[in-house]
């Protein structure tokens, strides 16, 4: 058991910022906009650090795929308690087209390279809401997956997991090595406080390129257009049920 955990962290536009579509409809405005770590990734980092504090694992490695600025996101993970970071340098057009399939290929390659026992990810990113990377990574590695985890406990070389599913809570037990994706109620992430941020500056971040890992990041998807959601129309009040039926018929709904 190498006791090493890989945690994926993604740099996304901060959740409180109002998103704006670019005038040419090719994407959203990101220049100069406040970015932060994806909230679900924060939860994943917190879980990894907790496991290390309980001495159930030995090392937490934070990984991020993206341009130079992704290193700031890795630094935040380091400030929360990760031991070292790996920045997979993807920029320009490649970065704009970077999606779950390429990221999961990268993570799978890194997991093999680093001999990881566990991969902890957020369940989804708040910018694309894909909810695919964890599942794809597990498939590529042929590892078991515990997604939407709201409770994680290690028992020898097995993991007990509680998953939040539509029907309620599902309790499962999976073997290691495994991929776990974190859901909201897994934990409350700690703050990256100033002394920890200072200490994090000394921790190492290695930079690699996807090609070094044998991964081709060309996308199979092409974004045609990005638009704002339609403006919400004002509602209408009706006096009687008959009126309602008439209006529904007019709108072609019945």
């Amino acid at each position: 058991m190498s006791g090493r955990v890989l945690v994926g962290v993604k740099r996304v536009i901060d959740y409180a910022v109002k998103i704006r579509v670019k005038p040419d409809n090719t994407g959203v405005v990101t220049d100069g906009v406040k970015h932060s770590m994806n909230p679900f990734c924060e939860i994943a980092v917190e879980e990894a650090v907790k496991l290390k504090e309980k001495k159930l694992i030995k090392e937490v490695v934070a990984v991020s795929c993206g341009p130079q600025q992704s290193q700031e996101t890795i630094r935040t993970a380091l400030a929360m308690g990760a031991d070292r970071g790996i920045h997979v340098d993807v920029s320009g057009k490649d970065y704009e087209n970077l999606g779950p399939l390429q990221v999961s290929k990268i993570l799978a390659a890194l997991a093999k390279q680093e001999d990881a026992q566990l991969i902890l990810l957020g369940k989804q990113a708040i910018d694309d809401d894909c909810n695919q990377t964890g599942q794809m990574t597990a498939a590529l590695l042929d590892w078991p997956q515990g997604t939407f985890a709201s409770e994680v406990s290690l028992e020898g070389d097995k993991i007990n997991l509680v998953r939040e599913i539509d029907g309620g809570l599902e309790h499962i037990k999976i073997n290691t090595p495994a991929v776990i994706t974190a859901d909201l109620r897994l934990n409350t992430p700690r703050y990256a406080t100033l002394p920890n941020i200072m200490k994090a500056k000394k921790k190492k971040i290695a930079t690699v390129k996807p090609a070094d890992l044998g991964v081709d990041v060309t996308s199979r998807l092409e974004v045609l257009k990005v638009e704002e959601p339609p403006q919400r129309q004002a509602g209408m009040k009706v006096e009687t049920v008959e009126d309602l039926v008439v209006k529904l018929k007019e709108a072609g709904r019945v």
Binding site: A16, K18, G32, T188, Y191
Partner: protein, 410 residues
């Protein structure tokens, strides 16, 4: 020894909105005064009721030989320093304005990069200081930065700077520029208005200087105070501030705006501020409010949703947010004062001067009477409430790190 608190949060880029002017805080060797040995970051992870949460962590003290305070207008640390070290003796109290600003992406055909438009007067009456700015930015995109400034020495508690700003945009000189455009950002901040009457050795408008026979160990050469004071008085900074010192206070006459313009025309434009007298301001902004019964409520037009907007959708565009489970950072010295005094005498002016809708008077659950509801999460850190509260009961303190507006391009 005062414990001062300051939030430090790593940011991708420094917000341009708050010009960070440097201030000098000199460490006084006079023991009776004490000294500033540094700053402390606040504790994080405190729940709304004051108890520590699971993620509680203590803040950290940072000690330094010299501490420079660059908080912008009406800094909360500077406020404590003024009181503790009596830095405001022999100066007039500072007077302020609130500036509200929006960033618009306009129709490219209407964009004239580099164009500057200023206005005074409408919709304010002649006795309320204020005006507008509209700048066509020259940065490659058809962006316009526009805003409205209202002097915080206004007297009518029914005045809402935010609503004055919104209705100003409908003026026939302004509205056409905005038609067909899209508002992309909103923000507000208090501004210093005082000028050199406001401090004994005022260097920069937003800076704080301390006068006294103190020598700094570290920057001996250029921060030796007596020399510094001399250098400053002989510098262009002082000359400029001195030349304009009477413009703002010249507004305080029966004819208000018109008197001020006549005075400025004669004594500044023509005479370059060389007149031998220095006019005074009127005292603190908080004391200028008249009781509500002596004033007329103002009828503001409803926002049309295209040029003018309601308050809450504007606040959403500031990107402001605060972690919900924390003690409110707008603190009251006395909980009974808002309803008894602010609402009773002044009809709750904080409901109107806050550009973020933090303050609301809502009926009590029991049905009889009102209470002040503080929506601290909306706060955009403008400091207007700390300045304009007629009871000076509101004390703005720093919220948990990371909270506040996320201005971009503002």
């Amino acid at each position: 020894r005062i414990t001062t608190h300051y939030t430090i949060h790593p940011r991708d880029n420094d917000p341009r909105w708050e010009g960070k002017q440097l201030c000098y805080k000199l460490i006084k060797k006079l023991e009776s005064y004490g000294s500033v040995k540094g700053i402390a970051t606040n504790d994080v992870g405190i729940a709304k009721d004051g108890s520590p949460k699971g993620i509680f962590e203590r803040g950290m003290e940072l000690h330094a030989k010299v501490t420079l305070f660059g908080e912008g207008c009406h800094g909360h640390l500077a406020k404590q320093l003024y009181n503790k070290f009596n830095l405001r003796e022999n100066c007039e109290p500072q007077t302020y304005a609130i500036g509200l600003k929006e960033l618009w992406m306009i129709d490219e055909k209407k964009w004239r990069p580099g164009r500057v438009e200023h206005s005074v007067g409408w919709p304010l009456d002649r006795n309320t200081y204020g005006g507008s700015f509209l700048y066509h930015l020259n940065e490659g995109e058809p962006l316009v930065a526009l805003g409205f400034v209202v002097g915080l020495d206004y007297t009518n508690p029914y005045l809402s700077p935010f609503r004055e700003f919104q209705r100003w945009k409908h003026h026939p000189f302004v509205a056409p520029t905005l038609e067909g455009g899209q508002r992309i950002a909103y923000g507000a901040r208090a501004l210093n208005e005082g000028g050199c009457q406001m401090a004994r050795l005022l260097p920069l408008v937003t800076a704080l200087t301390v006068c006294g026979p103190v020598v700094l160990n570290v920057f001996k050469k250029w921060l030796h105070v007596p020399e510094y004071a001399e250098n400053l008085k002989n510098s262009w900074v002082w000359k400029e501030l001195y030349a304009v010192r009477n413009i703002r206070p010249s507004f305080h006459n029966y004819f208000g705006l018109y008197g001020g313009m006549i005075y400025t025309g004669i004594f500044y434009w023509i005479c370059r501020g060389k007149e031998p007298w220095t006019l005074k301001h009127c005292g603190t902004d908080a004391n200028q409010l008249k009781p509500a019964k002596e004033c007329t409520p103002i009828e503001y037009p409803k926002p049309d949703g295209k040029i003018s907007f309601d308050l809450l959708s504007s606040v959403a565009l500031s990107g402001t947010n605060h972690e919900g489970d924390q003690p409110p950072h707008l603190t009251l010295k006395d909980d009974s004062v808002p309803v008894a005094r602010n609402l009773g005498i002044y009809d709750g002016p904080e409901q109107r001067f806050c550009p973020a809708g933090v303050y609301e008077y809502v009926p009590l659950d029991t049905g009889d009477g009102m209470r002040l509801q503080i929506n601290a999460q909306n706060c955009v850190h403008c400091k207007t409430c700390d300045i304009k509260d007629p009871s000076q009961n509101i004390n703005w303190v720093v919220p948990e790190g990371g909270g506040g507006p996320a201005y971009n391009g503002m």
